[in-house]
Symmetry: D2
Subunit: 200 residues, 4 copies
Amino acid sequence: MSEKNADLHGNVLEQSPVALLVIDMINDLEFPEGEEFVQSSEQAAQNIVRLKEQARQHRIPVIYANDNFGRWRSDFNEVIEHVLHDQVRGQRLAELLRPDQDDYFVLKPKHSAFYATTLSTLLQYFQVKRLILTGISTDSCIAFTASDAYMRDYEVYVPSDCTTARNEEFTKTTLDFLERSVHANTTPSTELDLGKLRHQ
Amino acid sequence: MSEKNADLHGNVLEQSPVALLVIDMINDLEFPEGEEFVQSSEQAAQNIVRLKEQARQHRIPVIYANDNFGRWRSDFNEVIEHVLHDQVRGQRLAELLRPDQDDYFVLKPKHSAFYATTLSTLLQYFQVKRLILTGISTDSCIAFTASDAYMRDYEVYVPSDCTTARNEEFTKTTLDFLERSVHANTTPSTELDLGKLRHQ
Amino acid sequence: MSEKNADLHGNVLEQSPVALLVIDMINDLEFPEGEEFVQSSEQAAQNIVRLKEQARQHRIPVIYANDNFGRWRSDFNEVIEHVLHDQVRGQRLAELLRPDQDDYFVLKPKHSAFYATTLSTLLQYFQVKRLILTGISTDSCIAFTASDAYMRDYEVYVPSDCTTARNEEFTKTTLDFLERSVHANTTPSTELDLGKLRHQ
Amino acid sequence: MSEKNADLHGNVLEQSPVALLVIDMINDLEFPEGEEFVQSSEQAAQNIVRLKEQARQHRIPVIYANDNFGRWRSDFNEVIEHVLHDQVRGQRLAELLRPDQDDYFVLKPKHSAFYATTLSTLLQYFQVKRLILTGISTDSCIAFTASDAYMRDYEVYVPSDCTTARNEEFTKTTLDFLERSVHANTTPSTELDLGKLRHQ
């Protein structure tokens, strides 16, 4: 309610020109076509886990931007608990990508991680210039977030092995679309050098 | 990540033309001039408690719009725990206004409850037309939220006994300002008939 | 500066559940790949002209959402004059789609017609529910505007014969993407019944 | 419709850490309490004219942020023509503050110059850090714009002799409020050194 502009209440965020977004991976996959996501999203999750390790080494902030699944009354921890313990399709995703103590959260009510959320403000305090987008689904939340990032002048990375749509064709054509429309760099995570992106 | 537009994942929100906002009352008051708020904000808290009871009777949603105090990594429950248990000036506020199971939360990074938050989206799903603003501080977060509400065409209520600034003069001149600039209705909570507002 | 909320200064906008957007068709096409757009965008323009006539019959508002081409100091009329008279590739587009006296304008600084513009406010005063998107380029401004429209709960129409990308394949795959990601209705304009959309 | 992120279509804006906003001074004053503004706003206009001259000397951009008065179909030039030639109360304001060739425009649909406009994007491309707000009315559009500027981390200047409300008391209490709530610097324009602000 009072002074916060200079330093956000003394919580000076360590600056980083890069941020890693993990989008909708805490996900029960209990929607009609969810079954089609189980295998490919677990593969993506394993790749994101390795990217998170690299991010930690290089002091790159990791931000979970996650659907609140209409649970306006609860918080992200309850969403995590639900996916971990309620016998849902997405359980393995949450086991792999359970947030760490120093990860950041943004609950999003719609598809884009920028729409009606604090993401812009958070990125501005980090002084981020490059955004690495990972998660599901490539042709919905990833594509919408990528468009919004591009209009806000971020360089957009969508590592091709850290995202998936319902099937390979949809993933592929959407990545092609993002290369054209937002100049997304889709280099797979195994070939991304986060240290270099951090210090460019 | 998928279908949500029709019903926000099946969580159809019960419609209400009125919503009650409780702004920054979960607050440790541990800022320089915080001591000046202790007494008047406890009085406001007691009045808000009674307004919340009336709201529950009439099925009016209660939304906590609260500063995250720069704690981008935690959630509202941790903020509540901090104020309840860390021997801070605002402890009594949190005891009085501890959120109920069916209250809603919006974590806000800046002064206005609308800025970089999901509030607009949430109010739209409730089909709210009238907003009752309560909390602290009258001449910062309340005033900024009132301006934003007015520009979005909400009718604005700021019950004069449910808000406070650092001193009575600041509270009074800001309420006068809000009557002029956003046509705020500042009728004290004791004279507000929520049932009537709900069914107008 | 004063009273405007009730009626926008007495300019009560006639309500319509449908609006027709014409995106970036006032366009000199003087960018590197512009030559590839000349033929297909003139075809689209001719189809949009017929859709505009239908819109006028049914009192559906037509809104030009146009790039300001970095001309922050000028207005839309100067953009139109430039395209009409400066011997540019897009001259024929402007001749076909020169705005009428009762069309509306939104100058947009980025790709989406919603980003940093008054479009949302304008649509809200019209009480629009269905948005018909036309113009160029399918895989940039049209796609970005469609995503933003979908997140704001509009029903999205993108008549397949009123939009184009650099080539037919890009147009086609982007329309497929929009059918999947925002449930866009891509019925060609010749089969759209605006009267029915207006009165649904 | 295509490449614009790097340089806004080749229109690289000259960077400036300061911008001067002229808010709602192109104004017919033909609203109920408009008569009360005639004298004091002409005095403010004369002070703004001198501030504009100083701004030009120091290559500080001048941005007119003006109500569109519900004229969604017209542009700023038509608003200017109306005020200059239609025998309205605000004619003298427009004569004094007629925009120059190199001034910028932002048409705003509501009170704050930031709400549903391109202002944020424009300021970002200028790399502005300090905003000087001038115009009318102090307790509406100026106050709302000041709040929005503060939440976006701009340093806010509201020279006390370049703004007015309906009467001196309202002007004075709102300036006091802005000093408290957004830490506005209200030094009168005669004592402001724009050269210093430009090169800080």
